[in-house]
């Protein structure tokens, strides 16, 4: 009986809780989309950077290739930072919370 009462209280509490609402502020939506896109771009950039480091370690990149890949990654990082700054998104905010798995980056 006591358990049933506890369950009833829990259900009532859930019913009273306000449902999640979508924030329809256009500026906020724009910023959220930019943040998501930049997070994914930065994630891919970091993957490419790791692969480039592995290839440097393995000696499978020529000097010219190292310079070209490094330059491309550097420019991409600058672009991500610049675009983030325009929308007041700090580099450390470029991540996704993946719940129990942790954070994306």
């Amino acid at each position: 009986m006591r358990e049933l009462e506890a369950m009833r209280e829990q259900l009532e509490g859930l019913a009273k809780a306000s449902p999640p609402r979508w924030n329809a502020d256009p500026e906020d939506v724009r910023r959220s989309v930019v943040k998501l896109v930049l997070t994914l771009v930065e994630f891919i950039r970091q993957l490419l950077e790791r692969q480039a480091i592995r290839r440097m370690d393995a000696g499978t990149l020529t000097r010219e290739q190292t310079e070209a890949v490094g330059l491309a990654l550097m420019r991409l990082e600058e672009t991500v930072r610049d675009l983030g700054a325009q929308f007041e998104i700090a580099p450390e905010d470029l991540t996704l919370d993946l719940g129990p798995v942790g954070r994306l980056m």
């Binding site: 499978t60 490094g70 991540t95 954070r103």
Partner: protein, 219 residues
């Protein structure tokens, strides 16, 4: 005539005394001898990049590892053509033969430590002027050995033949790959069970796996 998109899909490199054909999980694989290295290949179109395809390749590599004394797995999606594969293997022959000797009779165990502080990752990047400088700085950051890695090394070194620390991982995570001789696997497991209390962090130890982290990067 073969479809234009069909190429050579490389699963692994092994020692040359292999049968010409191997059927693994229903896939007809071929031994392509390249000097004293056997490339385990399949003539096929590139796979779809799906979880199912990755799982299937993992299962094939696991079966091959159980059947062969030495196997160096290739990365998922290693598609090329025969002349390019021959050139790659020839160019890396010494490295491949050394890796055969290193991994013989060994398996890979993987230690992951979660909830790390990212002292290095948070450091501001000093302004690189060239692409080479930029990559070199990233490489130095990735080589930084965190104190936790030192604790793992001290605890496990007696049962480990080689160690590799994953470069530049996502924040809060450190992954250490160990190459463990089969005869020391029980000792390894015994010692690994104490890592959690030594590090006071969430630690996972998985394996034994094929020696993915100790195979040379060909592509």
């Amino acid at each position: 005539m073969k479809p234009a998109s069909e190429g050579i899909y490389l699963y692994a490199l092994a020692e040359p005394d292999l049968p010409r054909h191997l059927t693994v999980l229903g896939r007809r694989l071929r031994n392509l001898p390249i000097g004293n290295v056997a490339a385990v290949i399949e003539r096929r179109a590139p796979p779809d990049f799906t979880t199912e395809a990755v799982r299937q390749q993992h299962a094939i590599i696991t079966r091959l590892t159980a059947r062969l004394p030495v196997l160096l797995p290739a990365r998922f999606g290693s598609v090329t053509d025969e002349p390019a594969l021959r050139t790659l293997v020839s160019r890396h022959r010494a490295e491949i033969l050394a890796a055969f000797e290193q991994v013989r009779g060994c398996v890979q165990m993987t230690v992951r430590i979660f909830g790390m502080c990212d002292d290095v990752a948070d450091e501001p990047r000093s302004g690189a002027r060239t692409g080479t400088e930029f990559l070199e700085q990233a490489r130095q950051r990735s080589k930084h050995v965190r104190p936790e890695a030192g604790i793992v090394r001290a605890a496990m070194s007696a049962c480990v033949k080689a160690e590799r620390i994953a470069a530049g991982e996502r924040q809060g995570l450190l992954t250490v790959f160990h190459l463990v001789p089969l005869e020391r696997l029980d000792l390894y497991r015994q010692r690994a069970s104490g890592l959690h209390s030594m590090l006071s962090r969430h630690v996972t130890v998985t394996g034994p796996w094929p020696v993915f982290a100790f195979a040379p990067e060909l592509f």
